[in-house]
Amino acid sequence: MKAGFVGELLGRSDYAIIGEIVEPNTKVLDLGCGEGELLEWLAANKGVEARGVELAGAKVRKAIGRGVSVYQCDIDEGLADYPDQAFDYVILSQTLQETRHPRTVLREMLRVGRRAIVAFPNFGHWRVRLSMLFSGRAPQTSLFPYEWYESPNIHFLTVHDFEALAALENLVVERRYFLAGHRKVGVMPNLTAEVAVFLVRRAS
């Protein structure tokens, strides 16, 4: 992949990548959609049929108030009701590391959706490694700013970890993007990427 500049969408570079991946006039489900900004943007600019799942009531209210159809529930159990292959894309942005059962979530995403877009912070980034090496404590960086006892992140993963899980699940990685700030990085992404975005589907 060529190194290059990535702009922002709604203040986030991973959203810019997702905005680029999603084809127009498709059906999109965003898990952990927050206040629904990304879905609103996709509906307005890509004509997608947008749905969201979010646990926090205040965020759900904001999302519904902006016209996005959001359902209040937990991602770990929230997908069971949907029929198979109901969506073209299921998005999980910066949330996989917060789920109790990431592997189940990934499977469910690819049951209800033809493709999954997964964006996550890379725990293999050199700053994380250095932090742990020198402090001897649970790493704290700009990407992982929390004390271990306050962190919502309960399943830390790296770029290599995700690739390995994708292989184990027999998934096809259609695209992979590695971001450091506003740059796409190509060399040694497991060491240099702050955020990774994967587009995966089941091998048919």
């Binding site: 009531g57 209210r61 519904i64 108030g65 959001v70 009701d81």
Partner: protein
Amino acid sequence: MKTLPEMIVEANTVRFDAISLDSGATLAPVDVAYETYGELNAAKTNAILVLHAFSGDAHAAGISALDGKPGWWDNMIGPHKAFDTNKYFVICTNVLGGCRGTTGPGSTNPATGCPFAMSFPVITIGDMVRLQRMLIDWFGIKRLLSVSGGSMGGMQALEWAVCYPDRVVSAIPIATTTRHSAQQIAFNEVGRQAIMADLDWSDGNYYGKQPPARGLAVARMVGHITYMSDDSMREKFGRRLRGKENFSFGFDVDFEVESYLRYRGSQFVNRFDANSYLYITKAMDYFDLSNGHPTLAAAMEKTDARFLVISFSSDWLYPSYQSQELVRALRSRNRDVAYVELQSNYGHDSFLVDVAEQTDLVRGFLANTFEKAQ
């Protein structure tokens, strides 16, 4: 700050030749009382039908020209409110079987010249909605932008979406259920038995005589308890005594809560017909959206309306699990549904009294639905 001029409103009535009912009976003729707020646009695409709960009526908003009272959802309907009457044309009818202008057991039976009383046919939520549809036809409205209501109003909204899917763009069922649980039926039955145990009920033939005021008042007292929550009752009444410092050591009113319930009970008698209480509660108990379908989800297959489903955390009469059942059925058919449980201490009454968050939700949902539908 400038005060807005109050919206002074009056109910109208339309008479239709006949309506066939789910029971097989026919009512002929049938009157329906309604109020409207705002203006119907030329394309007739901005109409919203608002549906009242058990004891409501057609007077949903504005100030009644008759008695100067505000409508039951006046905090939700009006200029710049959730149902913005500068933008939308809002219709509310009194339900079939009611006692506020629409034909009910207290209406005169044309065959006898006397009130129907218990010869009034048993009615269903489906019958109520069928009569509303006749009125919507009469207005020449092909599709309602939305159907919305809380409690029994929510049941009607759901019935609309499933029975007349091509007539509604969206539905906003609030604090409601797809069918009554044993507990809900039980509370209704206590109310009915209170009325029927009152000797003044006289098998329903009390018109022109003393109505079963004590029975109806007790029924209403039970109802009011179910509309509140433990928290809201503690906050509103606690164990405070009414106008005294010590117990009376008798059975007059001691506690504030007793005084409140007695007052609400006696007020209700002045505006509600005991037989309507029987008929309407029965219609709620019979309601089951999945009737005639193998499953609730199968019933949802018939509608492609957008849904906004709202429940309230402290509502133990129509608990959130019932709304979630509805939402799960909609999701299983991949329908467009938004759902949130709002935090409120007011119990089932929340949808009438705690409307700030509900307003933001409904306003945003309607604006987006209206825009998409144009």
